[in-house]
Structures are given as structure tokens and as C-alpha cells.
Amino acid sequence: MTPAMLLVAIVALSIVAFWVGKSRSLALVGGTRGISRLHSLPDHYGFLTALWCGLPALLVALTWLGFQDGILLRIVSTHLPPEVRALPESQFGLVINDLRNVVAGNVPASAVAPSTAAAAAEYLRLRQIARLALTVLVFVLAVVTMLVVRARITPRLRARNHVERLVEWLLFGASTLAVLTTVGIVLSVVFEAFRFFAIVPPHEFLFGLDWSPQMAIRADQVGSSGAFGAVPLFAGTLLISAIAMLVAVPVGLFSAIYLAEYAAPRVRRVVKPLLEVLAGVPTVVYGFFAVITVGPALRAWGEALGLSVSGESALAAGLVMGIMIIPFVSSLADDMITAVPQSLRDGAYALGATRSETIRQVVLRAALPGIVGGVLLAISRAIGETMIVVMAAGLAANLTVNPLEAVTTVTVQIVTLLVGDQEFDSPKTLAAFALGLVLFVVTLILNVVALYVVRRYREQYE
């Protein structure tokens, strides 16, 4: 049975179990008339049976399916000829990849080495057995638990309490998934990054000035030094983010001020959502916009002024990223400004201050912590933004502060190092995880600080 069919079967069995449990409870008290002798509603007995029938089976099935592929590959690879198994890890990875392709039916068995084809056939045979075994196991488990629960149903069984405790645990489990995700991110990124740091020392990675991740495949290859100094990437990321913030902060802040303090409610109702449209546009669209419109336009203007502007200049990527972040800054600043109590404004007006003086010297000063927090969040967005820079920024790691030149960023390098690669063991791909670790840590610190500042600020006026 295929995994999808198995899951459907488990659901179907649970529905059967529901009816079994429900009718059993009714039968015990002689039908709906005796219902008052039951501790819980008949449905509760049904749910209890269904949960006990479905959950263990589901758990077993998912665990099995999660590890099946890895175990089968390990078994199958012991059947490969010894000379194949003696291959270095990267080439062995290619053999395994061929095997997977044959198994998935992407490649006919005749297109790969005979030993691989044989292994693929073996894999398919074992998978057939494994699936059969799993199906039997799941069915037996489900039916046995269903019958055990059915046998234990008595009118005095506190079915409702049992069901509710189970449901509460399920709800708790769902809410821990967020924590598990974080743990997963940390573990996966840290684990791979440490493998990278075993090859390239951390200080060389963090402080090295030279980035050229192409490793030499052959010893005599030219231009593939394999240098992993990430400073040019950090510099490029900061340069583009700085340009973005130079666009987003003034425009976002001033539009928030205007909309919150000056604009008529009717204007605000129309303009605010219009600006927020910018936040809903996918970043890939901004990237396309940067490549097709902004980049060439900057280049043409640069030529008119006698400047040489790179086609993938940091300026183009930064400008477009700034446009993307405008609504983010403006809606956060708007929240902060409207949170400032009216009494502060009234006090300033009573002293004879004009509106702009009130805003500059009272409102903005009161809202400053919140706005700073918002800007920090915006910076973390800019640093982690991927598609715009992948499309509009360059690939070459230049260490420069000239916004007219092409620079590369951390996210661009993560994408270029990982896209299209089939092996995950070379320093080149592991470097992507090290970069990911840096990215995660930096944005996490920014977020924690920003969320703390914003929360403190909100509490101040509540």
C-alpha cells in the first residue's frame, strides 16, 4: 500500500472505531433510553475508541515512513560491489543519486551502471516488503487497540475525561511544534556549520577578506582556490541594507507621521491600504522590477553623468529593497505614533507649540523607543531578504563601499552555493550552512532586541 493510501486507511479505521465505541456504549445500557446510566455521552466513547485506534497506528506509520528510505539505502548499499563502496564520499553520493533516480522512475534502469540498477531493483523489492509489513503492522495495531478499548468500555468509564485529556495533550503538542521548529533550525544549521568549521577555521571564515568558494576538483585547476573569508559578504549585505534603510526609513516614517497626524480620516482610509499593497507583493516581483527597470535606468543615468554604474549595482538592489520595506516601517511607526496618548499632544498645544513642533519634540520623542524597535525589525528584514538580491545583486565578492559597484550578500551566496548541487558534503555546500548560522544568529539578536524594546514601549502607555 502506498503511504497516502495507508493514511487514508488509518482515517477510515478510526471512523469505524468511532461507531464501534459508540454503539458498544449504547448497547451496554440498552439503547438511547438508558443513556442516563452512562458516565459520558455516547460520542465520547466513540471518540475514545477512535483516538486510541488511530493515533498509535498513525505514529507508527509516520515514524516508519520517515526512516524507511535511510534504512533501505543503507541495506542496499551493502549489496553494491566493494569497488563502488570504496569510492570517495562525493562520487558515492552520485551513485546513490542515480539509484534514487531509478527508484523514482526519473531514469530508466538501462541508463545507469548495472550494479546500480541491480541495487535499485533490490531497493524496490525491499520497499515492497517494507510496505507490506507496515500495512500489516498498522492494521493489526489499529484493530487490536480498537478491540481492547471496546472491551474496556463500561457505563462507569470516564470516557469524556479521558478524551479531553488526550485532546489537551494533542493541543499542547501542536503548540510545541513552534519550539521544535526553532530547535530544528538551530540543530540543522549548527550541525552542518560545525562540519564546515572542522575544515575551515571559524576565524578565517569570520575575518577573512577573500571569498571564492569554488573548490578545485582537479589539482591543476586554475582560479579555484577555495577561500572562505566572509567579510566581503557581510560588507555587501550591510551596504545594500544601509541603502534600503536610507530609502525606507525617511519615506516610511514621514508617511506614517503624515497619515497619523495630518491626513483627513477619509484620505487615511484610502492611502494606508494602498501603501500596504507594497507589503503584499512577492519579493520575486521586486527582484524582477529591479532587474528590468531600476538597474538599466540607473545605468543610463550614470552614463549620462559620466559615472560607470555596474548592471548589478548595490544601489539598484538597495533602492528596490527600500521600497519593499517602506510599508513595514510605516505601519510600525504608525502603531507607535497612535499609541502616544493624546494628553501629551494637548499639553504641547496648550504651551503654544505648532503641530510640527508637537510632533517633533513631543510625539516622536515619546515614540522613539518603539520606532527604533521597528527600524531594527526592518533591518533584520533587509538582511534576510533573499530574492531581490539574488536577482539584482552580483555574485562576485567585492569588498567596497561604492554603491555603484556590484556586491554580493550572505543570502545570495547561500542560494548560489546550494541551488543545483546534489552533494551536501563538500566545504562549498557546508559553507552555506555556516552563512545560514550567521544570518540566523544576527537576525535573531535583532529580533529579540527589537521585540523587547517594542514591548517595553507598549507597556509604558498601557
Binding site: 520517515g66 535511510g70 539505502l73 534514487r100 478524551v163 489537551e168 494533542l170 493541543l171 499542547f172 501542536a174 510545541t176 511544534l177 513552534a178 519550539v179 526553532t182 530544528g184 533550525i185 540543522s188 544549521v189 552542518e192 519615506v251 514621514f254 508617511s255 503624515y258 494602498l274 499593497v277 507594497l278 503584499g280 507583493v281 512577492p282 519579493t283 520575486v284 516581483v285 527582484g287 524582477f288 532587474v291 528590468i292 527597470t293 505648532t354 510640527s356 513642533e357 517633533r360 525589525l377 538582511i383 534576510g384 531578504e385 533573499t386 530574492m387 539574488v390 536577482m391 543570502t411 547561500i414 542560494v415 546550494l418 551536501f424 540566523f440 537576525t443 535573531l444 529580533n447 521585540l451
Partner: protein, 444 residues
């Protein structure tokens, strides 16, 4: 003494008068200055707002201006004789034979029939290149679907070449010297002849909506990417809605206030701000390397996007639960309902519109997301339309990314067209969310 003191008093009053006037002048000047500052400040604000709106209009104007033409495509309508001698000389009508028949030569003979005066290999090659090299696929599909067509004479819309399409849409000029054009002078003559009798026309672009990816711009479509996005979102929705709602219910209704729930809360808020590419790294390391799930599959894409959208959905769902007044819970508990019954029968139905709104917004975000999908390999050149969540697929925004890299002029139009379709979907989703909120959200 009198006179001096009088004089002094007079002088003093004059000084007072003079200083009053001076002060007034100073105050007036400062008010003018302050009013100017006020006016300037206001102008900056107005400028910022108009800049924002100008960006919106410019962005959409550019994309729509470049992409709207993709919905129409140049087709040449020609009568084609489906010659049994060429398609199926043995008369078996087997699907295999029909599949592999030489439809290209049928199209070519139809073209020769239309322009009988053209001779010579080179001229004929130029003539053939007016029609897309992939035009036969549609013909093949029709014949395979209905073998009875063999032997008939059909009027067929043949997909024109990308160069012809771009000429018809006015994007390439006829004036430039012949060597710099993709079409020669005599090709222009034939095109004009075909356009004059109405057989070469712009029609609804069935390739764009019906095909997967292709290397030829006129042949490339978004069907595959759209299907990939749909399957990915299906997985995301099926997982993230129940899990997100369950998590929100637990945190809002059941969780005791203690360290564990504090950690969970801080965690969720932070996850919402983690860059999406990091989720891609997670997906790659956990789902693909560790669990060995297939690369490029919508299943993995859906799992990654689930983790990505969960914080959004949880936060929105909690807000919706907070909006349900405590009196509802107290009334239910007072009637003897258990806590779970209270939540399931009374609180959840009232909070559902808010939760659905949050979920739709989360789905819209997931639909536009591409960076994590690049990490898990949903970024390949895939011609086939994916049929299941295990097939290799790409997604609509990733298709935009892939096409934007290609140099052909025709792909710029396709990219913008794909973006228009993507934005249309996002618009529909967000509008649904707004309507849902306005119609069903209760204010207590």
C-alpha cells in the same frame, strides 16, 4: 525733581513702547519662521506619501504594461491535410504510431501550399521558421485524442514563432537594417500577406495557460508552475490550519502561565521574524538530507511553508480567540459544559472567521514565497505538469525567477504575465480575507 522724574517716566514708557514693538516684530518673525517650518514639515510628509503611492503605481504600471500582451499570442490559421500516407501509412491507427508521426512535414506542406511560388531550400527554411518549431505538438495532441481526424482537412491554429509574435505586438521594429532583425525582408512580406488575409492573428494564448515550462518563449506556459503552487499550498493548508488553530487554542485557552508557555510564546514571535531562507535551510537539512524525502517535490515545499506560515496563523488565531468575550465561556461553563466542550462548541465557532482570515493571509504569503523553495530544489527546468505531491515541480514565483534570468525578449513578456497571474491570485485571496473579516467578524 518733578521734571526729571517726569522725563524719566516718559522715557521709560517710550522704552516700553519701543520694546513692545520690537518684541512684537520678533514674535511675528518667529511665528512666520515657525509657520514656514510647519509648512515644510507637512510638505515632507505629503512628499513621502506621494512617493509611496508613486512607487505602487509605477511598479504595477511597469509589470502590467509589459505583461498584459501575454494573454494574446500570434497564430497562423492554415488548412492542413492530415495525410494518412504520412501519419499512418499502415492504417493501424495505433496510439504509438499517431504519437510518433511526422506532423512537422504536414505543417510544412500546408505552408508550401499557401505560398506555392517559393522555391529553394533556403527560402523554404525561412518560410518554415515563421511557424514555431513546437506547433506540431498541438496537432499531435488532437490527432491522438481523435484518430478519426486522419485523412481530413482541418483548419488549424498554428503557433507562430516568437519573432513573429513580437513583431505583431509592435515590440520589434521593421525599420532597423535587415541583418539586425530576426526576420528577413521576405519573411516580413509573407507575414504581411498572412496578416492581410486574416490567417495570421493574435488570439487567446492557450499555450501560456496550458503548457509547462519550455525553452521556446512562445511555447512556455505556467500550467506546471501553477499546479506546483496549488499542490504545495494544499499541503501547507492541510497541515498549518489544524496545527496552527490547535496551538492557538492551547496557548489562549488551556496553557497555565509558566515558563514553558512563556518560552513557547517568545519562540513563536521570533519565528515570525526569521528570514524565510533559513526555513529553506531547515527543510534541506531535515526533510531532504535526514529523512530522504524527494527533492523538488511539492510535499517538501508544503512542509517547509507550513513551518513558515505557522507563526502567522497562530498569532492571528490567538487574536481571534482573544476577541471572544469571557462572558461566552462563563455562560457555557455555568451550564455545566466542560472546558473542551466550551471551546469546541462556543468559542471556536465565534473565533473561526478571524482564524480563517489569518490563515488566508498566511497562505497568500506562502504563495508568494520563493527563497525557501530554491533551497529544497523546486527550481528546476520542468516541462511536465506535476500530477502528485511527490512529482518534481516548481512554483509560480519560482517560475518568475527562472524566466527572469533568460535573455530572450519573449520571456520578459512571459515573466510579467506570470507575475500578473500571481498578483491576481494574491488579490483574490486578500480580498476574500477582507470580505470574511468585514462580514463575519463580530464586534462585542
Amino acid at each position: 525733581m518733578n521734571s526729571t522724574s517726569e522725563a524719566r517716566a516718559e522715557g521709560a514708557s517710550r522704552v516700553v513702547l519701543r520694546t513692545a514693538a520690537a518684541t512684537q516684530a520678533i514674535v511675528a518673525a518667529s511665528i512666520r519662521r515657525r509657520n514656514r517650518a510647519e509648512w515644510r514639515f507637512r510638505a515632507y510628509g505629503l512628499l513621502a506619501v506621494s512617493a509611496g503611492i508613486a512607487f505602487v503605481l509605477f511598479l504595477f504600471g511597469t509589470i502590467i504594461g509589459q505583461g498584459v500582451s501575454v494573454f494574446r499570442q500570434a497564430y497562423v490559421e492554415l488548412p492542413i491535410y492530415l495525410d494518412p500516407q504520412i501519419i499512418d501509412p499502415d492504417g493501424t491507427r495505433a496510439a504509438e504510431v499517431l504519437q510518433t508521426a511526422d506532423y512537422q512535414s504536414l505543417i510544412r506542406s500546408a505552408l508550401r501550399e499557401r505560398f506555392p511560388e517559393i522555391e529553394g531550400r533556403r527560402n523554404l527554411r525561412e518560410l518554415y521558421s515563421i511557424i514555431s518549431s513546437a506547433a506540431f505538438i498541438d496537432l499531435q495532441r488532437r490527432v491522438v485524442a481523435d484518430p478519426a481526424l486522419v485523412g481530413q482537412r482541418l483548419r488549424v491554429d498554428l503557433l507562430a514563432d516568437d519573432a513573429v509574435d513580437s513583431l505583431l505586438k509592435g515590440r520589434t521594429s521593421r525599420e532597423s537594417p535587415e541583418q539586425e532583425r530576426r526576420l528577413t525582408d521576405q519573411q516580413l512580406g509573407w507575414i504581411d500577406a498572412l496578416a492581410a488575409d486574416g490567417s495570421l492573428r493574435l488570439k487567446f494564448n492557450r499555450e501560456f495557460f496550458g503548457n509547462g515550462d519550455s525553452r521556446d518563449p512562445e511555447q512556455a506556459g505556467i500550467r506546471g508552475a501553477l499546479m506546483g503552487s496549488l499542490l504545495t499550498l494544499l499541503i501547507t493548508l492541510l497541515l498549518s490550519f489544524p496545527i496552527g488553530v490547535a496551538a492557538a487554542v492551547y496557548l489562549e485557552e488551556f496553557a497555565p502561565r509558566n515558563r514553558v508557555t512563556d518560552i513557547i510564546e517568545v519562540n513563536i514571535n521570533n519565528l515570525a521574524a526569521v528570514p524565510s531562507i533559513v526555513f529553506g535551510l531547515l527543510g534541506l537539512a531535515v526533510f531532504i538530507i535526514f529523512f530522504g524525502l524527494p527533492r523538488s517535490a511539492p510535499l517538501v515545499g508544503g512542509l517547509v511553508l507550513t513551518l513558515l506560515t505557522l507563526p502567522t496563523i497562530i498569532i492571528a488565531s490567538r487574536a481571534a480567540l482573544k476577541g471572544v468575550p469571557p462572558s461566552i465561556r462563563e455562560a457555557a461553563l455555568g451550564m455545566g459544559a466542560s472546558k473542551i466542550q466550551t471551546v469546541a462548541h462556543h468559542v471556536l465557532p465565534l473565533a473561526l472567521p478571524g482564524m480563517l482570515t489569518g490563515t488566508i493571509i498566511g497562505m497568500a504569503r506562502a504563495l508568494g514565497e520563493s527563497a525557501p523553495l530554491l533551497m529544497i530544489g523546486m527550481v528546476a527546468f520542468i516541462v511536465d505538469v506535476p500530477q502528485s505531491v511527490f512529482d518534481s515541480a516548481t512554483a509560480l514565483p519560482v517560475q518568475v525567477f527562472l524566466w527572469s534570468d533568460l535573455p530572450e525578449r519573449g520571456f520578459v513578456e512571459r515573466t510579467s504575465g506570470a507575475i500578473i497571474v500571481l498578483l491576481l491570485f494574491l488579490l483574490i485571496m486578500n480580498a476574500t480575507a477582507v470580505i470574511l473579516r468585514n462580514r463575519f467578524e463580530k464586534r462585542w
